[in-house]
Symmetry: C2
């Protein structure tokens, strides 16, 4: 066997992530690797922290990128805030709520669930009832932007409820960060994780997180060690914490962090609020075009994520054949349905750099052709 260098095709990425990556970010990843304790690298780490605080709208000191994908960011939040025997209220309205339950269970916690139909947001009043019925619950966990359905839940109301019931909130913002409004401090979110490959338009592999002072206090007050050495934030902070003296924990993914840094610089250049608005605008263009074609959206407009559109598959259409046609004829990737929505919807992403008019036009043109418009 002799393997040659790999040259990927040039795709337009309009699935549920990864999203299109700007050449500036790709170029940043190709800069020379330096040591993870190099003074210049440490300076860049400080800048990443500041830029993430900007993106999350927080002053949280514990704000940093976990050296692994979003799923590991999720696990880091649960591993640090849940101890064996703890009761956690988990809201399920899609795949990622289910994954939260899996996390709680594997950590020896007990998950109590509030279930809502896929395609609808978390029902705040049901959550309130569940918190009243289960006063021993310590943590409320929910997904702000469900990537499996394209639904936005009311993170502000849910975090307020958590506070009112003396719970910490764990909030999945993998798909929401930089794509729709997210106000970590103002809304009082406690443990928040995200991913790089959605609206930050960075390659996948890193998970930004931020933790409130209350969350940090809870970590410090644990009775048992965090079950994962790699994810133990009290150790990770020894490396990412301020000051010139960094303690080695693990070797940071140097070049991936160059990419994240550049994508955050670009977000700052555009302005966070402008980024939110651009996603909304591009969704409007996509919606108008798709509806004119007779396509329906799964999610009601009141809670629809502009950056992740679940489009119902018309009767009699072979959804996989359409995706293959788009990929082969247009180098255009859109996503299949996931879990309960497999075979029922396509997921069309307008995330980060992918949220632009040329992409919307390409999608409408390609889909129109595929459906024999």
């Amino acid at each position: 066997m002799t393997v040659s260098s790999f040259y990927p095709p040039q795709r337009t990425l309009m699935g549920p992530g990864p999203s299109d990556v700007n050449p500036r970010v790709l170029a940043a990843m190709a800069r020379p690797t330096i040591g993870h304790l190099d003074p210049e690298f440490v300076r860049m780490m400080d800048e990443i922290k500041e830029l993430l605080q900007y993106a999350f709208k927080t002053k949280n000191e514990l704000t940093l990128p976990i050296s692994a994908p979003g799923s590991a960011g999720m696990e880091t939040c649960f591993a640090n805030l849940v101890e064996p025997g703890d009761k956690v209220l988990v809201c399920i309205n899609g795949v990622f709520g289910m994954r939260m339950v899996e996390n709680v269970t594997r950590m020896g916690g007990e998950a109590i669930t509030v279930n809502n139909d896929w395609g609808t947001p978390v029902d705040v009043s049901q959550v309130e009832e569940a918190l009243i019925a289960n006063p021993e619950v310590r943590v409320l966990a929910f997904v702000h932007a469900e990537t499996s359905t394209g639904v936005r839940s009311d993170a502000q109301a849910l975090c307020k409820l958590a506070q009112a019931h003396n719970c910490l909130s764990i909030v999945d913002t993998v798909t929401s960060l930089a794509g729709v409004e997210l106000q970590v401090d103002e809304w009082g979110c406690d443990a928040v994780y995200s991913g790089t490959q959605k609206c930050l338009s960075c390659p996948p592999g890193i998970s930004p997180i931020t933790m409130s002072e209350k969350a940090v206090a809870a970590i410090q007050a644990r009775n048992t060690p965090v079950q994962s050495w790699f994810q133990d934030l009290s150790l990770v902070m020894g490396y990412w914490g301020g000051g010139a003296k960094r303690a080695y924990h693990h070797t940071a993914p140097v070049n991936a962090l160059y990419g994240l840094h550049e994508s955050l610089v670009m977000l700052q250049e555009e302005g966070l609020e402008n980024s939110w608005q651009r996603h909304a605008d591009m969704h409007g263009m996509l919606r108008d075009g798709a509806e004119a074609m007779g396509l329906d959206f799964l999610v009601d407009e009141s809670c629809r994520l502009p950056q992740l559109n679940s489009i119902c598959i018309p009767d009699g259409v072979d959804e996989a054949a359409v995706r293959s046609q788009l990929l082969n004829d247009y180098d255009l990737e859109i996503g299949a349905g996931l879990g309960a929505l497999a075979g029922k919807v396509w997921r069309v992403g307008l995330m980060g750099q992918a949220a632009k008019a040329t992409n919307v036009r390409l999608f409408l043109d390609a889909m129109g052709t595929a459906l024999g418009d």
Copy 2:
């Protein structure tokens, strides 16, 4: 605050890792991101598996890159092979053996340790005695190449002992892979993890692992779920396992894997055995030059790793000042001592692309100047 793009300095990396990255690998990482389920990406994943089998000298079907740094690869091995209450014999002769103990403990296992002086290899006969004294031990864990000291232990003998005592072996090859002989199948290693940022000369962030059939059988026979959803290999294999139908587990770090692929293509071009020989040759050149300068090596030549040289700090020398001088005047990074060896040695890496004559000459020249030669 306005943050600008980050342009790292061009360093020569001769520390304990990351090591110098070839421009071919950097260029690969900057290629366009495609989807983690794209047919072209899936084809590249299959090539990475084959190339890793080549590098590890194994036919193990479960051979893949974990989407996180070497520390997470370590944790993945322990999380999948250790269940609460299991007794694990851990050999400690440096920092990474200690980290193994931490892993066992956090997984609810019980670590029994064999301790050897830092700078010496694991004592095989002590391990045998400990296995005889503790017949209930299920797993023997050790570090093949201790990055904290520069010592090579006898992995072949230790894996043979494990087999004789009905144990699975967990072998840390973070620093050994591609730098010194490693024969996973011939030696009968069961669970082996490595890192990309040492002798593969790739940026940090990914951890190649390989598991024998016996290890896979042990995972399948577990009584309890793996405590980490992210690290559960029975799930990870659903994505990395053969066949066209890949189940989504987490979003793979697409561009980091481009880099790993290219570094493995380069290893195949050179030939694995040639890579081992090059590391040995370059160590010889470094040793001759350093000894001529009056410098001593911590580790006896019989068990010294060519790619990681612990050089004793001469009396009266400010070791940190020397490292700063090398970094500032020569853009040359070497490593400090770690743990018990902090302040006692420098760690000079000759790993992967860094193992070349120009680097050795640069180091000798720079160190000679710094020491007032």
